[in-house]
Structures are given as structure tokens and as C-alpha cells.
């Protein structure tokens, strides 16, 4: 675990920190008051961020939401593109007056509901337990101090 001070940011970063010290300080204090703990130190944030457990949480989150976002966006884009350029295909009637366009549109509803359900299940199983553990650890440290 590395808690090295970020030296790359030196000149400009330092100047910025100077100008924003007041509001930031205020915000952090209120945060601590809300949570009922002392503030978590910058070193702890960097240490937690660099920890394997946190890296795993970040990977688990991004590993799900990024591919899923790409997937639903492409699936939606396909629908819009077909609506614009494949009208012959979209107008094919399947049952009675129900055509491909309507079914494709309704499938967008189904996929949206499905992805929402999949994500909530995934988050409950893979994300929440890790996030809760890290949070409890950080906040108990603050209370113990």
C-alpha cells in the first residue's frame, strides 16, 4: 500500500488548495458531523484507495456497469438505426397488426427492466457487502480515535 504524497501536482495544486481551503474545510466538518465521526484523514483515503479490497470493489463495479452501458446503448442505437434505415424490416407483420417495429420497441422495455433487475441483484451480492465492510472499517476508526 502506498501513501506517497502526490508530488506531480505540486505548484498549481498547492495554489488551488490555498484558495479553496475555507469551503473545503467547512464541507469536511459538516460531513463528519452528519456521520457522527471524526473526519477520515487524507492518508487513510489514499491508503484505502490503494488497498486490494477497494481495487476489487472498483473492478467489480466498473466490470459490470461499463460493459452493460455499452451493451444497452448499442442495443438502443440498433433500434433507432433500424427505425431510420430499415423501414421494410420494421414493417413486417408478425401477428395480426403487430409488426416488428412494435415488438422491437417493446423489447427495449423488456431489456431495460431486465438490466435494472440484473444490476440490482449483482450490486446486492457483489458490491454492497464489500462497500459496507470498507465503510464500517473507516468509520469505526474515526469513532475510536
Amino acid at each position: 500500500m502506498s501513501t506517497d504524497a502526490p508530488d506531480a501536482t505540486a505548484p498549481e495544486g498547492a495554489a488551488d488548495a490555498g484558495t479553496t481551503a475555507a469551503p473545503d474545510g467547512g464541507a469536511t466538518e459538516t460531513a463528519a458531523a452528519d456521520a457522527g465521526t471524526t473526519p477520515i484523514s487524507p492518508e487513510r483515503h489514499l491508503a484505502v484507495q490503494a488497498s486490494d479490497e477497494f481495487a476489487g470493489l472498483r473492478k467489480a463495479l466498473r466490470g459490470f456497469v461499463f460493459p452493460m452501458t455499452v451493451a444497452f446503448f448499442l442495443w438502443y442505437a440498433l433500434y433507432v438505426i433500424l427505425s431510420a434505415y430499415a423501414r421494410g424490416f420494421m414493417s413486417v407483420k408478425l401477428v395480426g397488426n403487430i409488426n416488428v417495429a412494435l415488438v422491437f420497441g417493446l423489447l427495449q422495455f423488456v431489456s431495460t427492466f431486465l438490466i435494472a433487475w440484473l444490476y440490482s441483484r449483482y450490486a446486492e451480492r457483489k458490491l454492497d457487502p464489500v462497500a459496507d465492510r470498507i465503510r464500517a472499517e473507516l468509520e469505526s476508526e474515526g469513532a475510536a480515535r
Binding site: 488548495a17 477497494f54 438502443y76 431510420a84 423501414r87 420494421m90 465503510r135
Partner: protein, 556 residues
């Protein structure tokens, strides 16, 4: 064909009932607002409803905020007049929630406090970023607010059956429009200044319940009319439209194929552009984003989006039945005789269904009155949410953090927020009175385009890109905002077309009505350029943001 809205005999009954029901809604919501005002003490109460709402309550409130009159009356109207193409809107508006669910809601809830800018400015220099965020929040909210209020004014004459030449309480149609805009504006100011987020949230919940119930009843009646045979409903709608099968296919309104190859090309690109803006705009709308702060945890924020997706999805399925139902049972001629844009299709359908199922003209008048009152409630709830979003940003971002540099007390901040709500409300009333001839759909589309081009890139970069910095945030917001607004200004929506805002002038050179396909990538590009040209970066603050966003440690 069958029924012209508010035939003279039923006119009086429907009008009295509409007004009675609307006043009942106003009385109930004002009661709730007064009750909420006594629970509103701290800034967290005023801005975030004390973060005490459950996932389900907030999901309903999100639905209430999102299902505007433009959705209810507008989409049903587009489907009734143009068939399938109205459905494209519903789908874009729904799929958009996945962006909010997967990428934004929980991380924003954990890392922010009251406004969108809390997240954007988290690890940046406060003043430039908060100024930019306040400008963009207020721009998006005012466009959206104008759309709703202008819509309210246009609807009242129709819903109360005030025709040219007749009067109501001594007012002709124009006076009634202005009176409605002032009434709606005054009520929204009261909801927000008195009830804060708590009062506003309950107003949204009540409205969502009424809207869903009204839409459900009408949908069931439409389907019952066709013995629950969807194919028969569609067939009837297609036949009544005079367009035949084309009515059930994409292409009557968006991506229209004409003889001119270039026109057809632009028209289709415009359809793609609209689709992108619809999907990416939602997660950048400030009045939607601040709803995530009303729940205690990120998990509750997730639950509220899940509920919202369910409620909004089902609602858009209802609008499909309402739109095609209106096309089949009311008919294009009767709808356009009332309103050329089709905004009265849903209330007209209510009347037709009432006559059918509830027994004659009285039944028709009753159902019409109920749906008209629901439409007013819808408008009222949405404008309250928008006023709250913009006044929060003005007070918390601009006043407290830019003007007072973070030194304002909670008390001062909340007083300023109340004053801001009053001022923004008053400005909106005046602007709406002058903007009565603006196209409502244009204002909503512009709000979505600005939200998707300016706010969304800044939010996503903030949450996921370590290197992102002050310069990047400022570039993304102003770049996206300006490109969207300028492209619209030079588009056929504003000039150079018979349907334009200024039909007699022509400074148009941008061929698309929806700027999204250019302005959204441009916003992302600006954010990237702004970031790489600045050396600023703050690893400690990013660590704090990332740890807080993902775990909730230290969250408000």
C-alpha cells in the same frame, strides 16, 4: 369525428368538475406543504427533504418529476396524430434511466450534498466550477420550466373549453392563459418556498399516484373496448388515421422520407440525434439529480431508480394504448380541431371513453374532468421540482460557495434559496407570458440537449476519471451548453422554416433540429481538452471522492 371536446351541454358540468377536482388537489397539496414546512428546519431539510424518504417514495417522486405534461399529453398526442413515432420518445425517455441507474445515482448520492455541483466541484476549485454548474442548472431548468408553463397556459383554454369568442369568469381565452400561468407560477412558488424539498416531494408523490391511476383506468377502458385485443386496436387506429399500415411504422414524423435525397438524409440523422439526446439527457437533468439526495443511502438511491424505472416504464406502456386509442376512438380530425399539436388527445379520449362506459354525456364530462385535473396536477408538480432545483443551485452553489466563498451560515443559505425560488418563479411567469407562442417540444428538447452535452460529460468524468480537473469541468459544461444552444439557434427550429420560431427570418445553416449528435460528443471532447491542457490534479481529493462515492464512507 365522433366527439368534439366539451359539447355545449356537458361543457358546464365538465368545467365545474375539473375546477372542483383541481382545487381539491391544490387544497390537499397546500395542506401537505404547510405540514412539511413545520418539519423543515435545517438546510438538509430544505434542500434534501431531510434525506428521510424511502426508496419507494422517492421512486414515485422521481416518476412525478419526470412524467411531465409533455410526456402525458405530448406523447399521447404524437402517437394519436403520427402513430408509431411517438413511441420512439417513450423508449428513449425510459432507456435513459439505465444511465442514471448504472453510472450516476448511487455515486452521486454518496459524494454530493444538495446539488449537482457538489459532485462536480468536489475535487476542483470551487468558484469556477460552481459558477458553471449554476449557469447550466438554471439554463436547463428555465427552458424546461418555460415548456411546462407555456404548456399549462395553452391547455387551460382547451381543458376548460374556453373557445375564441366565449368567456369564462369574464376572461377570454388569452386572458385565461395568462391567468393560468400566473396561478401555476404562484402555486409553485408557495410549494417550494414554504414546503422545500419535503413539501415538493409529497406533491410529486400525490401527483404520480393520480397520474398513474388516471392512465391505468383509461388504458383498461381502451383495451376493454377492443376486448383486450391489441391487434384490433392497432388495426382500428391505422384505419381511422387514413395512413393505413404506415401509421404503425416509424417514419411519419421523424426521419421522414421525401423526394429530396439530402432532406431525407438530414431528416434521418435528426432522428438519430434526437434518440441520443433523449437517452443521455435524463442523467444530466438537475431536478432529477437532486432527487437522489432525498434518501438516506446509496442503496436507497438505487431502489428509488428501480421503482422509477418500473413506474415510468409502465406509464409509457399506458401512453401507447392512450395514443392509439385516441387515434381510433376520437380520430385525427376531432383532435386537430381542438389542438393542432395533438395535446388534447388524452383528455378527448377520456371524454369518449366516459360516454362509452360510464353512461352518456355525464359520464364523458366526469372522466374528462378527472383527466383534465390530473393534467393540471402534473404540470404543477413538475414546475415545483424545477423551481427547487434552480433555486437550490443559485443559493447553495452561487450564493454560498461563489459569493460568500463557503462562509454563509445554513440559515442564510436557506433564506437565499427561498428568495431565489420566489425570484426564479416570478421571472418564469413573466418569460412564459411572453413566450406563449414558443413550441413546447422545442423547449424540452433543448433542455435535454443541454443536459446531455454539458452536464453529463462533467458528471461522468468527475466520477470516473482521475485526471479530470477544474479546467476540464469548466470546458465541458460551457462547451456543451454553448454548442447545444448555438446549434439550436442556427437550426430550422428557430429560423428559416415555416414552422420556425421566426418563420419570416432566415439565419439557419445547421440542418438538424436536434443538436445532440454534434453537441454531446463536442461536450465530451471539450472536457477532455480542458483537462489535458491543465496540470492541476489532486490525488488526495480524488481518493476521498472515489472512496466516498463507492463505499459511502463520510457521505452526507
Amino acid at each position: 369525428m365522433k366527439i368534439l371536446l366539451a359539447a355545449e351541454a356537458t361543457n358546464g358540468t365538465a368545467r365545474t368538475l375539473t375546477i372542483t377536482l383541481f382545487l381539491l388537489f391544490v387544497a390537499v397539496t397546500l395542506g401537505i406543504t404547510l405540514w412539511a414546512s413545520r418539519q423543515t428546519k435545517s438546510a438538509a431539510d430544505f434542500y434534501a427533504g431531510g434525506r428521510s424518504f424511502s426508496g419507494f417514495q422517492n421512486g414515485m417522486a422521481i416518476g412525478g418529476d419526470y412524467m411531465s405534461a409533455a410526456s402525458f399529453l405530448g406523447i399521447a398526442g404524437i402517437i394519436a396524430l403520427y402513430g408509431y413515432d411517438g413511441f420512439l420518445y417513450s423508449i428513449g425517455f425510459l432507456v435513459a434511466w439505465l444511465v442514471a441507474l448504472l453510472l450516476v445515482a448511487e455515486l452521486l448520492r454518496n459524494s454530493g450534498k444538495y446539488t449537482m455541483a457538489d459532485v462536480l466541484a468536489f475535487r476542483m476549485r470551487q468558484r469556477p466550477v460552481r459558477t458553471a454548474a449554476a449557469v447550466s442548472t438554471i439554463t436547463v431548468s428555465i427552458f424546461y420550466l418555460l415548456a411546462q408553463m407555456v404548456g399549462a397556459g395553452a391547455l387551460v383554454a382547451l381543458l376548460l373549453g374556453i373557445r375564441p369568442g366565449t368567456t369564462f369568469l369574464g376572461m377570454d381565452a388569452d386572458a385565461a392563459k395568462i391567468a393560468t400561468i400566473i396561478l401555476v407560477g404562484a402555486l409553485m412558488i408557495i410549494y417550494v418556498t414554504v414546503g422545500g424539498m419535503k413539501g415538493t416531494t409529497y406533491v410529486q408523490i400525490v401527483k404520480a399516484f393520480l397520474l398513474m391511476s388516471g392512465a391505468l383506468i383509461m388504458t383498461l377502458l381502451v383495451l376493454a373496448h377492443y376486448k383486450f385485443n391489441l391487434s384490433a386496436l392497432l388495426g382500428d387506429a391505422a384505419a381511422a388515421s387514413g395512413k393505413g399500415n404506415a401509421f404503425l411504422e416509424p417514419g411519419l414524423r421523424y426521419g421522414v422520407e421525401s423526394g429530396d435525397a439530402l432532406k431525407t438524409f438530414y431528416s434521418k440523422v435528426d432522428l438519430l440525434s434526437l434518440g441520443i439526446a433523449l437517452v443521455l439527457g435524463t442523467a444530466g437533468l438537475p431536478h432529477i439529480l437532486i432527487r437522489f439526495y432525498t434518501v438516506p443511502t446509496a442503496k436507497a438511491a438505487r431502489k428509488s431508480v428501480l421503482w422509477a424505472i418500473g413506474i415510468i416504464g409502465v406509464f409509457y406502456l399506458f401512453t401507447l394504448a392512450l395514443g392509439f386509442g385516441a387515434a381510433a376512438l376520437v380520430g385525427k380530425d376531432a383532435i386537430t380541431a381542438q389542438d393542432k399539436a395533438g395535446n388534447t388527445a388524452a383528455p378527448q379520449l377520456a371524454q369518449a371513453l366516459g360516454v362509452d362506459f360510464l353512461g352518456g354525456d355525464i359520464g364523458g364530462a366526469t372522466l374528462l374532468a378527472i383527466i383534465a385535473a390530473v393534467a393540471f396536477a402534473t404540470i404543477l408538480a413538475v414546475v415545483a421540482g424545477l423551481t427547487l432545483a434552480s433555486s437550490s443551485s443559485l443559493a447553495h452553489d452561487f450564493y454560498a460557495n461563489v459569493v460568500k466563498r463557503g462562509q454563509a451560515s445554513e440559515r442564510q443559505e436557506v433564506s437565499v434559496a427561498r428568495i431565489s425560488a420566489f425570484v426564479i418563479g416570478a421571472i418564469s411567469i413573466v418569460l412564459s407570458i411572453f413566450a406563449q407562442n414558443l413550441n413546447v417540444a422545442f423547449l424540452v428538447a433543448l433542455a435535454f440537449a443541454v443536459a446531455a452535452s454539458g452536464n453529463l460529460p462533467a458528471i461522468l468524468y468527475s466520477l470516473f476519471w482521475k485526471r479530470f480537473n477544474t479546467s476540464g469541468a469548466v470546458w465541458a459544461i460551457y462547451g456543451g451548453l454553448l454548442s447545444a444552444v448555438l446549434l439550436v439557434f442556427f437550426s430550422p427550429v428557430v429560423s428559416g422554416a415555416p414552422t420556425a420560431m421566426f418563420p419570416n427570418s432566415d439565419w439557419q445553416w445547421f440542418p438538424l433540429s436536434n443538436p445532440g449528435i454534434i453537441s454531446i460528443p463536442f461536450g465530451f471532447l471539450c472536457g477532455w481538452i480542458g483537462t489535458v491542457i491543465s496540470k492541476e490534479s489532486d490525488d488526495e481529493k480524488y481518493a476521498e471522492l472515489e472512496v466516498r462515492a463507492l463505499t459511502g464512507a463520510g457521505a452526507h
